[in-house]
Structure formats: structure tokens, C-alpha cells
Symmetry: C2
């Protein structure tokens, strides 16, 4: 049994209602600069989010990159695009600030591309690339603030709406403006700063290795600090020591060559949606456990330090269940953050013909699904995909990477096309007890009066393993955005206060000892 | 062992290559009239298919109804709209031709409304409501014939494209023009003719009972002849003695109240798509058998006459497998037409978030499916739905007919909203050995030299049980359209020859003894 000292109990109580710490002198300077520049910051941010940023939209991606170069240059930072000969390689925006006498170089990473959008799924008035302010997330009854115009007051509890407002243009805004605030306050950074703004993160950064090969010297640093992902759902600041890997599979199941009337062919022609449904159901049991053979076999057990950190993470599950309207988590008894340390098999999407008002009485020609496999230390993207493919083959499916020929259709009852969206990204983890890790925690801790949440791994994915293997720096994540931002989904939004707080966090990191 | 006489073997051989019979004198007259009027017929048909006809599109439905009244009146038929006070009741187009001395009254039924369309799913150049000619179905490499204009020759092997071109504006065209051809040829009908063109069939004709109550005397007839559904896949003409019933269920499964990042919540928040997939997979086993308790229990066994008719239906399964690119039917060994005599559970559509290029790494808020339950003699729509709902409840689901409240979300892990698209339609069957049944078969048989295909029941659904129970006529179906018409689906089309042949079939029925 653990006995708690009264002081610790007080700390625990406090930790349930994170309050603004009494600000440090540095925080006060950053805050004063921000208050004085709010109008320009907000105007620039809105202009930035208004540029569409889907990863494969090459023309607009370039507009985003050019915009960021402009942002850096306006703040006196030497900036340029790093490019590759391939037209499908999106540019990296690179910048640097050299500090005389500095003995350490820190790279600051964020990404400016965003996940695909289906505008039809956004709430009325919420648009992916027309940023607006809303009183709250749409799921909490948030309303768009009509008639707001540049220069009007912005309540820090409001949300700025739009794809990328949180994930991860907020990262670009935070890093650049934390530096601007320091520079304006004459509180210079203590390390050489480098900036790396990725334009391919949402496709698992397929050009990153080539980019590093082409620009190896520029990209050297002692530490890469990663600004992506959310804060703790309580709003508390987080330091993350790893990321999950990720790989996506697109599945297509083939039915009859032409769509069929469900009466005139029903009970005879196989329905590809039903076949896909049966296949997907075979992958996960009713208790949420993936039953693909060997799915959890490669996972490296947590270190004692990681286990300890995980145990210290404030419990948030009851609040989350209430906020999200869930009676129970997928696997009863497993906490949110314990789940981060295991691989996932998530059904991102499934579609066969139409539903609701558009539904017709048909047997369709194809049914499609997209799977998302998150990976943890020990997993490998290729190996994890192979397990899923083996599971599918073991159930009698003929697997292709293209549409079937007539001869294949005549031979095989169950035909599935499986394509990888990309080669995927492997997971990465940094030991929590390195001196540099302690310094990062201390810098973030200096801005708040509750214990900073330390996670052995974040739930999301970044291509950090490539950076670690090719360049060898230490890599640590310090997210800033609200956890209810609808990242990756419709009605994405950033709670403005989180950007303001993030400036102070990153100013502390840029001046850490 | 069955020994075949040489003559029967010849008949069997002939039956594999249906040839045009040496035309009867009546056929010759109808054909000559049609050849002389092809341009007007085609122009009128194209104008008709160009009027959008989705059942719930009230304004356009009315335009269709008015158009049909005009068609009838131009041919000298007394015509009117039958309406009801409800604004949601689509009008029936009614017409009649009284024949002095006739002792029998025949009602001719077709419907002018069509299934919903998703234009994005149609092939490039194929549009739901811009009828064009194509060389063949899109699945057989058919191309739109560019530059065709009114008056140009129409190859009878071509397809007229568009929603309703086959299902079932072809029925309206056939019935009206068979009469016009007879009238022009002075070969008057032998019975009083009535015409009933339904505007709600694709929603299971929810106003039909009220319509019969309001217009009972007008709608009396000795025989209702139903023109809907396809010919045998070989192209052979069919007489059908029954229809399946049908009822649709819309299912919505609820996940988190806001869409979640699949990394930041994966392994914790349940995915509604996965839950729906697991539920749907539990309804049908890998061999295609529905495993919902009692699903097949109510089915009334076939009569000896029905069994005999079914055994005589030409086998078409090998050709169908080839045409549709299927190695095996859903239930190995079951013929297409045997399947018609059993209820179905068909997954019309399923959708959770997005797939392919639009897919994002998310856990969505809802997942949806639409089920289609076809019913056969002995089944009842309400009872069949209750079996499916009981199956869902037995698996631990809390069933609602609306979205859940917060309190319900907090209490139940598995919440599903189930709504009926309509109350559904029960099946109907007419004995095959009645004298009037024999007369109908003889009339159709008089137009071809192969044995007409006689089916105990068609695979599709029509609200015939309501007509039988409220008005008491005999009811028999004589379809005319090609079976590869993509009825209910994208790229619907009518093969023109089937319309031309249908005129002769219906002229024979209007003059039968």
C-alpha cells in the first residue's frame, strides 16, 4: 500500500485543475510581446490556414511553403526551401539562427501539410480552408462567430477552425513566434536554432530520407524537438519520448462486374460488402483484441522508467468517457496511455455502395476499406503488414496489388486488392533518463505549477526513426494543441489559449540550459 | 434416369439460342407500326427519361406524371391523375379504354419512379438524367455514341442510358405503345384495358392502400398484369407468378461524439465501424447462409407445380458467372431461381468515414449500413424485421429509433439506431395452374418459338399483396427488359430490342382470348 504525504495530496488535487503558474520573468516578456502583437498573429494565422494543405495538392503545398519562408524572413530568420528533383517531393522549409558561443544546436520540427478533407462532412458554416472563430467545438455546441473581423477581440477560449489549424500549422506558428518574441524581448536563445517544416508528414514523409541525404550537414543537431500531437486531455503540458509508427492499407474486395438488383440476384450473387465485413470482423474480437496471428509478438516490453512514467500519468478516462459520450473504452480496464504502448488495427474507413437516403437495393461491384496499423517499439511496418496479409490469405483470399483479370475472377471466389498508401513509418523511442531529456522536462516544467505529463510514447506517428537512424540526434516531442481539436477529422480547430501557452513553452525550450 | 425424345432434345438445343419466332400476323402489324414510328417513340422516350424521377423528389415526380398523362391523351386514351390529400403521396397515372362487348377487364401496371442515384458513381459520360445511346453496357466495354441526334438510325442492340430507362419507364412506354400499335392497326383489344402507373414503387408504394380505398371502383379488374423486372438472363421471355416482399433497415452505430485521431485515441476509443462490421458479420456465415435465429422458419414450401416449373427453367448460371466475373455463387449449388424462393439479407450499403484517397487516420463518430430483406411466401415484413432486431439485441446492443441521449451513451456500450425506410411489402404469389394463368402464358408463347420461362416468383418486389387483398384480382407479371440493365444501380440502361419485343408481347396480351 502506498502512503501519501499531505503535500503530495495537495499536489494531486491541484493537478486536477491546472492553473496558470505564477509566470516566470521570461514568460512575462513573451506574454507581453504576444498581447501587443495579437492582431498581426491572428491575421497571419488565418491567412496561413486559408491555404489548402492536403499533402498531394502540390500547387497549394508550394504556396504554403512560400508563405512560411515569408514568415521567417519577416522575423529576420535566414530561410529557404529544401527541395528534391522529384516533382512529388514536397519542399521542406528550413531556417536557422546562429547564436555566438552556443554549444548546442536544437532543431525545431513541425509540419505544414494536412490530412485529406471531405467538406461535406464538416458542420454547416465550418469549412476546411475558410478559417473562422467558433465559441467551442461543434460537438460541444460551438457556434461560428458571425461578423468577427480583423482587429476585433479574440477570446482565448475560442477555436480557430480549419484543416491544419491545430495539426500542425499551430506548430509552425508556435515555433516561429516563440523565436520572434524572444528576439523582440532581447532574451536571446541559448542554443543555435534550426527550423524544419515538413510538407509530407501526413503521408509518413516519404521523401525524408532523400532529403536528409541531400542536406545532411544542414540537418545536423544535438536535439530535435518535435511539435506535433495534443496536450493531455486535461489540458496539461506533455513531454513525449517516442512516437508510434504507422502504415495504411487500402483494401478492395471484388463482387460482380456490374452492380446487380438485390432482388433479381439476391441469394445468388455474392455481395462484396458482406465478404469484406466478414473478413474485417475476423481480425478483431468483441473485446477489442486484434486476433491476427502474432500481432502483438514483436512488442518490446516497457523499461522500468517507462512503466513508472506511465503509472504517474494523471487518469483522464472518466472525463474522456463523459466528453466523448462513451460508456466503456474498447478494451475494458486499459487506460488511454497504456494503449499507446501497443500496436493498433483501426478501421479508418469502409464503404460499399451507399447508405441512408442514397441507398439502393443493390449488390455492388466492389467494397473498400482503409486500415491503419500503428506500431510500437519492436514492430516493423513491413512485418506487421505481412501478418495482416497472411491472415487474409489464410482465410482463403487471393491477394492482388491490382484489379483482377477475367481469368483470376473465374478461378478465385474471394479476390482482394491490397495496396499500401506508403511504405509506412517505424516507431521511435528515446530513453527518458538522458540528461537532455531531463533538461527538456525542466524547461517545460518552468512554465507551469503542476507536474508536466511525461509519456514514454505519444499515440501519433512521426518519421522520427529515419531522423534518428540517419542523423543520430536525441528526439523529444513537446506538443502544444488542445486534445479536442478534431485533428485528422472534420471540424478541426485550435483553442487559441493553447497557442498562447505554446509560445511560452517554446521560448523556455529555446533558452534552456 | 430420364430418357429424352429426339424432338425434345431439339427443343432443348433451340432453347439455348432464342431466335425470333416466325412472326404472327398480329406481331407483323405491331412491328410495322413500330418501324414507321421509331423516331417519335425514341424522341418521346428520351424526353421521358430526362425527367428526374427519384421517388421523394415531389416536384419532378409530378412532371413525370403529367408527361405520362400527355402520352396517353395523345393516343386517345382517357387519362387522369389519381391523388390523395397528403403532399407525400405521389400521383398514380390512370387511364382506361373500354371495349364494347368485352367480358374481361385487365389492369396494366408499371411504375414511373426510380431508385436514388449517386451521379459520382456513374461512368464518365453516363448521366442519370441525360439519356444517351451506348454501344453496350459499360461493363462490357460499351461506349457512349457521340454526335447521335434525333432521327439518326438506332441500332436495336444499343442501350438507352439513364435512371428509369429500364426500371420502369420501359414499362410505361411498352404498355402505352402496345395499345397505340393495336389501335393504329385496327386490331382492337379483346378486353377492357385499364392503366395504372405507380409513382412510389421504389419506396414500396406506401400510399397504395389509401389509393385503392379512395378509388376502389376505378381499380377493379379481373387480372392485373405487371410489367416490371427483367427477362431471363438468356434474353428469353418470362411469366412470373409471384413477387418477393421487401423491407429496408437503416442502421447507425454510435462511436465517440467527436471524430478522433486514430493515434491519439487508438486502442482506447471504440471504433463504430469495427463494431458495425462485427455485428453484420454475425448475421451471415461464410457459406452465405443467414444465421439470424428463425430466419428461414416461416417459408411455405413450394407446391408441386412450382417445383416442376423451377426445374424446367433453363440453366443460366455458367453464362452468368462468366458475364459477371464470378467464380462461384454465394451459396454453392443453389441456382439463381431457387434463390428467389428464399428470403434474403443483403447489405445494400455500408459507410464509415472515408476510404482510399479521402481516408484519414480517424476513429469516426458513426458508422452506417442499409439492409435489404427480401421476403417470400410465409414471411411477414414485421416478423422478419423483429428477428433481425432480436439478433442485434441478443448480441448486447441497445436499440433506439433515434440518436442516443448523453444518459444512454453513459449507460450502454453498444448503441444502434434502427429505422425502417418504410413499413415494407409482403410477398405475393398466384397459383400457376389457373385458367387465366394458362391464357397469359399462351399469349406470351404466341410471340416466340422457345418455351416461355415460367417462374413461381420473380426475385424483385412489388406491392401486389395489397392489390390482391384489397381488390381480389389475379396478378401475373410479364417483364420485358434486358437482365443486364443495371436496374437500381449506376449506368442503368435499356437494350432497345427488348422494348421493340415488349410491344409485341403486350399487344398479344391485350388481344388474348
Amino acid at each position: 500500500m502506498i502512503r501519501l504525504r499531505p503535500g503530495f495530496i495537495l499536489l494531486l488535487l491541484l493537478s486536477f485543475c491546472p492553473a496558470q503558474a505564477a509566470p516566470s520573468p521570461l514568460q512575462e516578456k513573451v506574454r507581453a510581446w504576444r498581447v501587443a502583437h495579437e492582431r498581426e498573429l491572428i491575421d497571419e494565422y488565418r491567412e496561413f490556414v486559408a491555404i489548402p494543405n492536403i499533402t498531394i495538392d502540390r500547387a497549394n503545398i508550394r504556396r504554403n511553403a512560400d508563405f512560411i519562408v515569408g514568415m521567417l524572413q519577416r522575423r529576420g530568420v535566414e530561410a529557404r526551401l529544401l527541395t528534391l528533383p522529384s516533382p512529388n517531393a514536397n519542399p521542406v522549409v528550413y531556417g536557422e539562427v546562429n547564436v555566438p558561443g552556443a554549444t548546442r544546436t536544437i532543431m525545431f520540427y513541425a509540419h505544414y501539410d494536412g490530412q485529406p478533407v471531405n467538406p461535406a462532412q464538416w458542420a454547416p458554416g465550418w469549412e476546411p480552408f475558410t478559417p473562422k472563430f467558433a465559441t467551442a467545438p461543434v460537438e460541444q455546441g460551438g457556434k461560428i462567430i458571425e461578423g468577427w473581423k480583423s482587429g476585433d477581440r479574440v477570446d482565448p477560449q475560442w477555436r480557430l477552425t480549419g484543416r491544419g489549424s491545430a495539426d500542425d500549422k499551430a506548430g509552425v506558428m508556435t515555433i516561429i513566434n516563440a523565436y520572434a518574441a524572444l528576439a523582440a524581448a532581447g532574451a536571446g536563445p541559448t542554443a543555435n536554432l534550426k527550423f524544419f517544416f515538413d510538407g509530407e508528414e501526413e503521408l509518413n514523409s516519404p521523401s525524408l530520407a532523400d532529403m536528409i541525404t541531400a542536406h545532411r550537414e544542414l540537418l545536423r543537431a544535438d536535439l530535435w524537438l518535435i511539435l506535433d500531437g495534443p496536450c493531455h486531455p486535461s489540458g496539461k503540458k506533455v513531454v513525449g519520448f517516442g512516437v508510434r509508427g504507422d502504415v495504411n492499407l487500402n483494401l478492395t474486395v471484388f463482387g460482380p462486374k456490374r452492380p446487380l438488383h438485390s432482388g433479381n440476384y439476391g441469394n445468388w450473387a455474392p455481395n462484396p460488402s458482406q465478404a469484406l465485413v466478414n473478413l474485417l470482423a475476423s481480425m478483431k474480437d468483441e473485446s477489442g483484441r486484434v486476433v491476427v496471428a502474432g500481432f502483438y509478438d514483436d512488442v518490446i516490453p516497457l523499461t522500468p522508467a517507462e512503466r513508472q512514467a506511465l503509472a504517474a500519468v494523471p487518469s483522464i478516462e472518466d472525463e474522456l468517457k463523459r466528453e466523448l459520450g462513451l460508456a466503456n473504452p474498447e478494451v475494458p480496464g486499459r487506460t488511454l496511455f497504456e494503449g499507446f504502448t501497443l500496436p493498433t488495427l483501426n478501421l479508418n474507413g469502409i464503404q460499399g455502395a451507399n447508405v441512408g437516403l442514397l441507398a439502393a437495393n443493390v449488390i455492388p461491384t466492389v467494397a473498400r476499406a482503409t486500415l491503419d496499423l500503428r506500431l510500437v517499439s519492436g514492430n516493423d511496418a513491413k512485418r506487421q503488414v505481412a501478418k495482416v496479409v497472411a491472415h487474409i490469405e489464410a482465410r482463403g483470399w487471393h491477394v492482388l496489388d491490382r484489379d483482377p483479370t477475367d481469368a483470376e475472377r473465374a478461378q478465385y471466389s474471394r479476390i482482394i486488392r491490397i495496396e499500401l498508401k506508403s511504405l509506412g513509418t517505424n516507431p521511435q523511442r528515446t530513453p527518458m533518463d538522458l540528461p537532455i531529456a531531463r533538461a527538456v522536462v525542466a524547461a517545460v516544467q518552468s512554465t507551469v505549477d503542476y507536474p508536466v505529463v511525461q509519456l514514454p510514447t505519444l499515440g501519433g506517428t512521426l518519421p522520427l526513426i529515419t531522423i534518428e537512424q540517419m542523423l543520430g540526434p536525441k528526439i523529444i516531442s513537446v506538443p502544444v494543441v488542445n486534445s479536442d481539436s478534431n485533428q485528422h477529422a472534420e471540424n478541426e480547430n485550435l483553442k487559441v489559449q493553447f497557442l498562447w501557452d505554446g509560445l511560452e513553452t517554446y521560448a523556455a525550450l529555446m533558452t534552456m540550459r
